[in-house]
Subunit: 218 residues, 2 copies
Amino acid sequence: MRHFEDELNELQSRLLEMAGVVESSIHLSLRSLVERSEEDVQQVLRNEDRINQMEIRADEMATRLMALRQPMARDLRFLTAAVKINADLERMGDLAVNIAQRAVSLMRVPEVKPLVDIPRMGMLVEVMVRKSLDAFVNRDGDLARTVLLADDAVDSLKESTYAELIRFMETDSSTITRAVDLMFVAHNLERIADHATNIAEDVLYLAQGIDVRHHSEG
Amino acid sequence: MRHFEDELNELQSRLLEMAGVVESSIHLSLRSLVERSEEDVQQVLRNEDRINQMEIRADEMATRLMALRQPMARDLRFLTAAVKINADLERMGDLAVNIAQRAVSLMRVPEVKPLVDIPRMGMLVEVMVRKSLDAFVNRDGDLARTVLLADDAVDSLKESTYAELIRFMETDSSTITRAVDLMFVAHNLERIADHATNIAEDVLYLAQGIDVRHHSEG
């Protein structure tokens, strides 16, 4: 039987490999929107199948490790965090698919206006995802905290994107369908940011044993 | 030390108690929209705090049970399902809060038109949630399958709601802000239905050991 520590490391490697595919999906979904690339959409859909398989395998591995050995408190914290991070990554992949689907509708019609805020929001979100995973690998609570702060910036960028799109719709009703698609793109980006925030919260729990969930409610 | 079986039963009871609060939140969020009730909104917000506390406690209990004993395969399947159902319930509570927040904006302005499709969608979703939990309590795979089927009905009702709201926006630009709020209500209902579907999938896994996740993709 392999050393328990090796198996935990392998589980972490699998999550990071999955995260790489998810990050690629997020990036490609935004590029498919900006560059109107059908090929990028196809790649996001291919990635989704791979992510789904990876999620099931990582889940099975985490469950098996919880069952076969009697993990110590620290390892058990890692395993429960791994199960949650796995679910967050899978959902991020789904949200990238949603963005790519909106990109397909938008590809067929003229631009409402040059995209500015959504690519900017996308960049912020990509950085949040990257930092949440770096924080996970290094159990870096300080880095995880920067992810929680960035979430507020994404929310306010989303609000201004909504406000601008509503002005477009009110001024020119021919833009409505397209503006609604863009609102849902912004909404999906915000949800990806929420999942990065979940991962950062899990890292704080791992790094310091503090439960920071529901930190920003009310 | 208490009998392991008793502790598993207590965990299940806690989840069902939490589900009761979540179901009440979903119902009140829809009622706050239809009846323009500020008091219902307040109750949804109070429920959210309670749900968040319940989620943390159920999570701690599941983690402790995984750690302290070496559960058999069947019990471990229950514990991992419990962790997931717990997370799904908490998110449903958040989505009810989102609906209640849209209800607050809509309360201050005249109706776009009498609400028909959204309350109907709400009823379907409430039934899905109830059935997914009944299926969980009774490990009833057949009932869980009816939840998976109902999800398609909710999706198609959502699509027709969107189409109707877009027609309103195109015809009368003064309805745009309100129609967007209603679209997000429909979107949140669809997401609640997705979480009920997740629970039903976990029940199928519990009842039959079949992994039906990603059943409807592609």
